[in-house]
């Protein structure tokens, strides 16, 4: 019981702190009312030993004389303007209590203003007169900072047995599980450098929630939406890699991309990987032809297939291509040097071409290419409808200037432009997805 004296002596006299009854109560785990008495006792005994060594503030609660009357009068003045059948008595009747924090030197003066004092106790004891309330505010804050610990709960003056907290139902579990990947983001970012860059280390992210689930109460409730989005973000790349890249492909891409990417910043790599995935998420993961490095022979047949696919999806892909072109996936890199297909920017190219070169020699090429032609027809209801349909068009390099001079007109000078453009990104390690579909 006497340890409060040492605590107070330490804090007030040695460390120059202000101690409120709440701080004392929480620090020593005593009832607040007892803490108030402790403060008073300490204050009394210190000041008998050496007057002026500690200063107290008091908390008063009671009915003030002057305030009551002033307010009553003020209300009376207001009332006449109101509607006639109001109770004129009401405002006078309102009892007005005052809860006041008073410094000890003013206590006697202030007490005179009170009609009755319902309660008075020492609020705080400090080494100096409490001129500045911020010291008390700080003391109050530090009292709040002392948290309950389970073994020795701090005594409360008033408890409520009816208190209800939210129970975590199904949602809670999900939230707890989902919350973890968010926290682990820094880790997942670092991890891919060790493994394949496309792998966002799904294993730890999924495994980690399990222990967390068990200690539900420890995990703060998080908004379900955000973490859910985060898991979604992580999931698609995983799926894609697992399904699209078989073992050999994975090995290849790992081997190919690691050395090639001279030194991509480790943080940005997974990030750039994630963005296209995120934007594609849900709509067109399946549509995106997966660039699969392989033997040259394989590639040709695959390319034809892709072309078929592309023909079907001309419209959609125009847009996709644009997106992809902005942030190309690293897997395509190894193909760059051999490509020559034009990067058809959708906005410029109303027509999109595919070509079949029949003759190719000394810089001149002839052949046919596929062009999307716009046709405007009037349908049976009299509406004008614009449709695009593919058509073949023969061309010859003769008409075009030499390959080294790329021209802005895509339609006529597409192949040279392609050559120029395709070479540029290659050293950078940036590929264009369009290049994938080109012929060798």
């Amino acid at each position: 019981m006497e340890d409060y004296k040492t605590y107070l002596a330490e804090n007030v006299l040695s460390e120059d702190k202000v101690v409120t009854y709440r701080l004392l109560s929480r620090a020593l785990r005593v009832h607040p009312n007892v803490a108030k008495q402790m403060l008073y006792d300490f204050y009394k005994s210190q000041n008998t030993k050496k007057p002026g060594s500690v200063f107290a503030t008091y908390l008063l609660y009671g009915i003030k004389k002057s305030v009551q009357h002033q307010n009553g009068n003020a209300m009376d003045i207001d009332l006449p303007s109101s509607l006639p059948d109001a109770d004129p008595v009401d405002n006078d009747d309102v009892p007005s209590y005052t809860l006041a924090l008073i410094q000890e030197d003013r206590l006697a003066d202030v007490l005179k203003d009170y009609e009755t004092i319902a309660s008075i106790h020492v609020y705080s004891v400090g080494p100096h007169p409490a001129k500045d309330l911020t010291l008390l505010v700080d003391a109050a804050q530090s009292a709040l900072a002392i948290k309950d610990d389970a073994k020795k709960p701090r005594p409360r003056t008033i408890v409520n047995s009816h208190v209800r907290r939210r129970e975590r139902k199904g949602v809670g579990l999900k939230v707890a599980a989902a919350a973890v990947p968010v926290k682990q983001e820094p880790k997942t970012k670092a991890a891919p450098t060790k493994t394949a860059p496309a792998k966002p280390t799904p294993a730890p992210a999924l495994a980690a929630p399990k222990p967390k689930e068990e200690s539900k109460s420890a995990t703060p409730a998080t908004e379900p939406e955000a973490p859910a989005a985060a898991t979604k973000k992580n999931a698609p790349p995983l799926k894609r890699n697992a399904s699209a890249a078989s073992g050999i492909m994975q090995a290849f891409s790992k081997a190919a991309s690691l050395p090639k990417k001279a030194k991509p910043s480790e943080k940005s790599t997974p990030a750039t990987e994630d963005t296209p995935v995120l934007s594609d998420d849900g709509e067109d993961d399946d549509d995106v032809p997966l660039p699969r490095p392989g033997a040259a022979s394989q590639r040709k047949s695959r390319k034809q297939r892709e072309e078929e696919l592309r023909r079907m999806m001309e419209e959609d892909e125009d847009e996709e291509m644009e997106e992809e072109a902005d942030s190309p996936a690293p897997e395509e890199e190894e193909e760059e040097p051999v490509v020559e297909e034009p990067p058809v920017k959708a906005e410029a190219a109303k027509e999109e071409e595919k070509e079949i070169v029949t003759t190719s020699g000394d810089g001149r090429r002839r052949g046919k290419r596929r062009v999307m032609k716009k046709k405007q027809i009037m349908d049976d209801q009299g509406y004008l409808v614009t449709i695009q349909e593919p058509a073949w068009e023969s061309f010859s390099e003769d008409e075009a200037p030499p390959a080294s001079k790329p021209k802005p007109k895509v339609a006529s000078s597409a192949p040279p432009a392609a050559a120029g453009k395709a070479k540029k990104p290659a050293p950078k390690g940036q590929g264009n997805i369009m290049s994938f579909f080109s012929k060798k």
Binding site: Y4, S25, H31, P32, N33, K36, Q37, M38, Y40, K44, L59, Y61, G62, N71, M75, D78, S81, S82, L83, D85, A86, D87, D90, D93, V94, P95, S96, Y97, T98, L99, A100, L101, R106, L107, A108, K112, Y114, I117, A118, S119, I120, H121, V122, Y123, L133, T134, L136, V137, L144, R156, T157, I158, V159, N160, S161, R165, R166, R168, V171, P224
Partner: protein
């Protein structure tokens, strides 16, 4: 008169006795049942027009106004002429003594006008900074309108009443040569029928009271005489701020007071433990920052150009401009208080909720610590299910309606009253609260000058059932009175002062609806 000697050496001003710590007191509870009157759908369209609000309001209140009017004026003879009833405003004939009911529209030059905004090509509307729409120089005119037409009201009878846009009145008089309606008398709908006490939670009443009795028995075993009645605490305008710390100590004391840690055992036992609920009526968080302690420049309508050239405006979320400290402080405050006391939280003008009436609850994301006391978010199938049990920490709409210990309670965060206040010359806010009850409309000036959701199906601002307790938060000063209706209705009106201004808490007795105020002073 109290002297120092009287108080010294008594109570807590003595040595600790060394006895065991006193038992913790048990806080009383009150029955609490929030109503979802002002709850909006999560997916609500904003395309519709506002006209429906006025139409719905007129349709809902006109029968009551007409009933009151025909009761008062039926068969009245004035100057040898009998007062006739006229169905529509358009049917008023010059020189004929008649009465007609309609919606009041105030035409005031100082009032913000959407037509003016549109004609001047101002498409971004900012909250008005005008303190008063009332000009006092006679430029203001009062119109009465319904779906047929509009007529200007003149006459001395108008001076005796508060008149704001959107209230439904019946006027008796004649149309003069100028085409104006000379008002001889004017009537409102008066107080709506008041439900019985315990009307909403009637089924629960018996059981709850049983519980209460048991609890009282337990806590008052030492004191078998009549227990002090229970109370609810009303506070508004806490305005937690990290810029203005002038009342931080008072906020601390308020917390200690409500927690019951302050004061001595008898007060804790007899008063504090009977405070069963805290209702926070708006403006819990202050948005003023240290840099510009004055109101944000966005509120300045006189120089709309300012808005478009802020110095370092970032696109999207600018973390440097957001100050999380006030909401953290508020969250700490709540999480300290909630273990012993349930809290009802209404948003106010400064709070992070939607700006238009009815304000929807503040999102639980603002309360990382205290939200565990809220009711669980509804998901999926039971989204529409009515919550059988309100959250311990109940963040509600503004305005809000509910039943506490059987009494019907209607409360707002204060915008409705502040807006009505701008229309009239008077300072009598309690009178305006009374007028709102008599108009049967809690927010008559919505949607004219008080931003509101464009209601289509229902007009929730119409007071269908008379509350027993009507409080309005964030007012400049405390005020209360009881008003009575002709059918024996009695309404306790309370203007809850802003804590940041007055440092006052209002306590309402849950049996008698008597009011006490507690002022907190730190000097």
């Amino acid at each position: 008169m109290v002297t120092l000697d009287e108080v010294l050496g008594s109570g807590l001003l003595q040595k600790p006795s060394g006895d065991d710590a006193p038992e913790a007191l048990q806080r009383q509870i009150t029955n609490y049942k929030p109503l979802q009157t002002f709850k909006l759908e999560k997916t609500r369209p904003y395309q519709q027009q506002y006209a429906d609000i006025y139409f719905l309001r007129l349709t809902k209140i006109r029968p009551a106004v007409e009933a009151a009017a025909s009761a008062a004026w039926e068969g009245t003879m004035l100057g040898g002429e009998k007062v006739k009833r006229v169905e529509r405003v358009l049917d008023v004939r010059q020189g004929e003594l008649c009465w007609v009911a309609g919606t009041v529209y105030m035409d005031m030059p100082l009032k913000p006008s959407i037509l003016e905004d549109v004609s001047k090509d101002r498409w971004i509307s900012a909250p008005t900074s005008v303190g008063h729409y009332y000009s006092g120089n006679g430029d203001d005119s009062i119109m009465l309108e319904d779906d047929s037409g509009r007529i200007r009201l003149v006459g001395n009878a108008l001076q005796n009443h508060f008149m704001v846009t959107g209230c439904i009145v019946a006027v008796m008089g004649t149309e003069n040569a100028n085409g104006e309606f000379e008002v001889i008398d004017l009537l409102f709908a008066e107080l709506p029928p008041q439900p019985e006490r315990w009307s909403v939670s009637k089924g629960k009443k018996g059981q709850e009271q049983q519980e209460d009795v048991e609890m009282m028995d337990a806590s008052f075993s030492g004191n078998p005489s009549k227990p002090p009645s229970k109370k609810i605490a009303l506070v508004s305008g806490l305005e937690f701020s990290n810029a203005d710390t002038s009342y931080a100590m008072e906020l601390n004391l308020l917390l200690e007071y409500l927690l019951g840690e302050a004061l001595d055992p008898s007060i804790q036992h007899n008063e504090i433990s009977h405070i069963t609920r805290l209702i926070i009526a708006g403006n819990s968080i202050s948005t003023t920052t240290a840099e510009h302690a004055k109101p944000a420049p966005a509120y300045d309508t006189t120089t709309p150009v300012n808005k478009f050239q802020p110095q370092h405006k970032k696109y999207g979320y600018d973390s440097s401009s957001y100050n999380p400290v006030p909401s953290q402080l508020f969250d700490n405050f709540l999480s300290e208080l909630l273990p012993t006391m349930p809290v009802t939280l209404l948003p106010g003008a400064l709070d992070p909720a939607n700006a238009s009436y009815p304000q929807q609850p503040i999102h639980s994301a603002m309360f990382p610590q205290s939200r565990t006391y809220m009711s669980a978010p509804k998901v999926g199938a039971d989204k529409d299910a009515v919550d059988e049990e309100p959250g311990w920490f109940d963040n509600v709409t503004n305005p809000w309606e509910g039943e506490i210990e059987g009494w019907r309670v209607l409360g707002t965060g204060g915008q409705n009253l502040d807006d009505v206040f701008k229309y009239v010359e008077s300072e009598d806010r309690l009178g305006m609260m009374e007028a709102m009850c008599r108009w049967r409309c809690v927010a008559p000036t919505a949607p004219d000058t008080l931003w509101a959701y464009p209601f289509q199906e229902d007009e929730p601002f119409v007071i269908k059932e008379c509350p027993h307790l009507f409080f309005v938060g964030c007012q400049p000063e405390f005020g209360t009175k009881v008003i009575h209706g002709s059918d024996g209705q009695a309404v306790r009106l309370i203007a809850v002062p802003s804590f940041s201004e007055t440092r006052e808490v209002v306590l309402v007795d849950t049996e008698t609806l008597d009011v006490e105020r507690v002022r907190i002073v730190a000097e």
